[in-house]
Amino acid sequence: MSAFSLAGSVRSGERTARSIVEEHLAAIADGETEINAFNLVMADSALERADRLDALVAKGGDPGPLAGIPVALKDNMCTRGVPTTCGSRILDGWRPPYNATVVERLNDAGAVLLGKTNMDEFAMGSSTENSAFGPTFNPCDTTRVPGGSSGGSAAAVAAGFTPLSLGSDTGGSIRQPAALCGVVGVKPTYGRVSRYGLVAFASSLDQIGPFANSVVDAAMLLEVIAGHDPMDSTSIPAAAPDLLGVLDQGVEGLRVGIIEEISGSGPTGLEGFSPDVQSRLAEAAETLAAAGATVEKTSVPSTVFGLSAYYVIAPAEASSNLARFDGVRFGLRVDAENTVDMNAATRTAGFGDEVKRRIMLGTYALSAGYYDAYYGKSQKVRTLIVEDFARAYGSYDLLLSPTAPTTAFPIGEKIDDPMLMYLSDVCTIPSNLAGHPAMSVPFGVGDDGLPVGVQVLAPANGEASMFRAAAVLEAATGGLTGSTT
């Protein structure tokens, strides 16, 4: 049953929020040791909240569109009084004194916060192996990674621990794990969802978005969390788009381009794409064509430089964003003789290897004498990508690519080879650099029987047509996917 229908049944009094929460807590009790999707399960507060919602319904009140629906949050979203770790030791003991805007909106919509999900430390990684609290395992095959960095949120939905979850996507951290776990994952247009209360990784790229078992559920959750927030200066000054209302509109007449470079096809195509992933993409293209879209291959040449530009810009911003974890005001402090040594000791003990690697990369890229060659040049590449996309969207309404080059890879396979790991995000990064929306829709399985995701890309504020295409693709695969409930 979709979260959309579940919420309806709670609002009508057909089901209680408590029964829904209990059901999911039971699923967690059953499977969490195997998956490790959560850093914190908020069982008590979730049940209390469910009871309050049930009481409200009993009195004739309407809790809102997400009435009684459990939602899990990636552990980089601030929750008042509830530990928020970012998968890092450096935030040991910190309880934010405030809620992220998305948390406030979930509360206002009648949702039940179920827990905080595991993630690569500070969202840096593509496998959720970089967490200080151990890796998360892919519910489809527990010898495999769930993708990352929002691996906990993706796995929690895929395992049936929660109908909905939120992740954050800086270079693919929602879409890639969604693909690897066989669920729907959406990165909205930059500025669509408030970042207030999202612990920053790379501010100009970060965006919060939903995970769900279906396109309709993802649409419902995005409608709740989207819309202007005065607390985020980069927030788009517009109300949330209507998505639920367009899902059945089909793709008749839409022009769709398959990006050759990030599909591993054509003369400019990048390497490393599995043939089965490419086959699913071809089938997805046929599906859209059969539904009345015109589909053809196209080139967005600068997307091949996306990865390189990203690995300068994101670490540069991160090196600055993560400076505040210095042991002075919150989280871990390792004492030392003086302040400078205390800063160093705290950061040495508190950050994991990947975070340190990126802080060093970013610090270097911004240094006097190197700025123009690295940061400056990367910003130019970014502009080039924006211009290339603009040109492509002159001819197409939507673009298509695989979400990730391969299905879920074995745990441990890439963890010692950062460059190989970074390549997992080659298809997703360009949308972050451009600030455009993109989503991953499960579309069949690979030769290994593991889920394959197809990525639908749209121009800025193009969520509606993106969701229409996603709904068509989903319908072709038989609806609800990935859920074990």
């Binding site: 601030c78 405030y98 920053a200 980069t234 600055s320 400076a323 002075v328 919150f330």
Partner: protein, 481 residues
């Protein structure tokens, strides 16, 4: 000029450029709703943003932008589209370990400030940035290296600052102080800042270099920090320029450094050398969008600007037919409006200014323009002597009233000139040698002796006589002899 502030060194020219930080008088901080107020209990004026808590985001305070634009307009700057940047360095009183400032695109570009003497001092830029918190080092005499622990108060963190970077156009400690005084007067006049150096709401960093007189190339500069008053500014410049000249005279060279002014010791010492300078790794602040004030808004702000001290000096100078510099004191005392109003009512400008400068140091009190004008009219009409006028003026300031009635109450009456003639005549008879000296003396001797005679008459008449009239009588008698 006292010796300790005299920065003139024979054969050497001192070149000074000042960087002034002023806290903007907003109700809330630059990027959040926490209060901007001096002197609160530590860490009571904070919120997630000003504490730099993870996940918090800055939102620009529009009032701060408006005040910054006012500063730009007052300093004749180009007000332009701007961007914020992050200045990265670790320091415990800086919550995010970076400061949000403006780098290559400041809100105010080049401009100038006019000193009371009419010289224009160039302004490089005036940009917005956030203030840091304050560290207190406990134990070890308050020194950071010997302290047993440190406390940080974040009330000040995030308070909006305007940093006004002046060009190296100043040539002496007096210049520097005049510049800072004028800048402070401007900031206060336009309501941008309270300009209190003693509360740290206005802080001055001073770049000093020296070069031989006639040399065009600038010498190596040192930046002096921790200057907390106008007096310190003068002393620091005197010390630092002397230090640099001594180094060069001894055949050594000046190293580019940041130096710390120690008020107690009266000297500067090295804070860090050029090699130790921070690499701030500036880059555009991704959490904020560019600030593009509309022309309409800028015009609106311009229209609402009060008259600036310089404009007020010019206005008064024109009316009184004096040099703007001579109008400075009246403007500084805020008495220019009163003076102008009295002049409008026909009062003699020269007498008005004399009273403003000599007799109204503590302000106008209950004195009205009407009363002032009437008083000056009585004085110029010979009904009151200068001394009597001063007495009446003091009464008008303290309790108001009609000058004629006040004068009458004091028993002041104009002395008849025939009566005065008689007094002068007998005075001359009593002091024949002084009279001869007056009649036969040169300019300065005559002046001296006329002073003597006027003084004696004043003594005899208990100040009731009109000094100018006495002088006229003396002149007439000496020439008609």
């Amino acid at each position: 000029m006292s010796p300790e502030t005299c920065s003139g060194i024979d054969g050497w020219e001192v070149v000074i450029g000042l960087e002034v930080h002023a806290e903007l008088a907003t109700a809330t901080k630059l990027f959040s709703g926490a209060r901007n107020e001096f002197g609160g209990e530590p860490n009571t004026q904070v919120d997630p943003v000003s504490l730099g808590l993870p996940g918090s985001l800055p939102v620009l305070n529009e009032k701060a932008v408006e005040l910054a634009i006012r500063v730009g307009l007052a300093l004749n700057c180009v007000v332009q589209p701007s961007e914020f940047a992050r200045k990265n360095y670790f320091y415990p009183d800086m919550p995010k370990d970076f400061q949000i400032s403006q780098f290559d695109q400041p809100i105010n570009g080049e401009g100038w400030l006019e000193l009371p003497d009419g010289r224009r001092i160039g302004i490089e830029r005036a940009h917005l940035e956030e203030d840091t918190g304050k560290s207190t080092h406990v134990g070890g005499g308050g020194r950071i290296h010997e302290a047993s622990y440190s406390l940080v108060d974040y009330n000040r963190a995030g308070v909006p600052l305007i940093e006004i970077v002046g060009k190296p156009d100043l040539r002496s400690a007096d210049d520097a102080r005049a510049y800072v005084s004028e800048l402070r007067a401007i900031l206060v006049t336009i309501g941008a800042s309270d300009g209190k150096m003693e509360e740290g709401s206005m802080r001055v960093d001073c770049n000093v270099s020296v070069r031989p007189v006639g040399e065009e190339e600038l010498g190596t500069r040192c930046e002096v920090k921790n200057i907390n008053s106008l007096r310190s500014l003068g002393r620091a410049i005197a010390y630092e320029s002397r230090r640099q000249v001594d180094l060069i005279t001894l055949g050594q060279k000046v190293d580019q450094q940041t130096r710390h002014w120690n008020e107690e010791e009266g000297r500067t010492h090295t804070l860090r050398s050029k090699e130790e300078a921070f690499d701030y790794r500036y880059f555009p602040e991704p959490d904020l969008v560019p600030v593009v004030p509309s022309t309409e808004w800028i015009d609106q702000i311009r229209m609402a600007m009060p008259l600036l001290p310089g404009e007020r000096r010019h206005r008064l100078a024109e009316e009184a037919d004096i040099r703007p510099e001579a109008a400075a004191l009246a403007v500084e005392r805020g008495l220019d409006d009163l003076a102008l109003a009295a002049m409008d009512l026909g009062a003699d400008p020269a007498r008005v200014l004399v009273h403003v400068e000599n007799n109204l140091a503590d302000g106008q009190g209950t004195l009205t323009a009407d009363g002032f004008a009437a008083l000056v009219a009585m004085e110029t009409g010979g009904e009151l002597t200068a001394t009597q006028a001063k007495t009446v003026l003091a009464d008008l300031v303290s309790s108001g009233g009609d000058p004629a009635l006040v004068a009458a109450a004091h028993g002041f009456e104009a002395m008849e000139s025939s009566e005065l003639e008689g007094l002068v005549e007998s005075l001359i008879a009593d002091h024949p040698e002084d009279w001869e000296a007056f009649v036969g003396g040169d300019e300065s001797e005559r002046k001296k002796k006329s002073g003597f005679f006027v003084g004696q008459i004043m003594k005899t008449t208990k100040g009731q006589a009109d000094g100018r009239l006495v002088n006229e009588i003396l002149e007439r008698r000496s020439t008609s002899r």
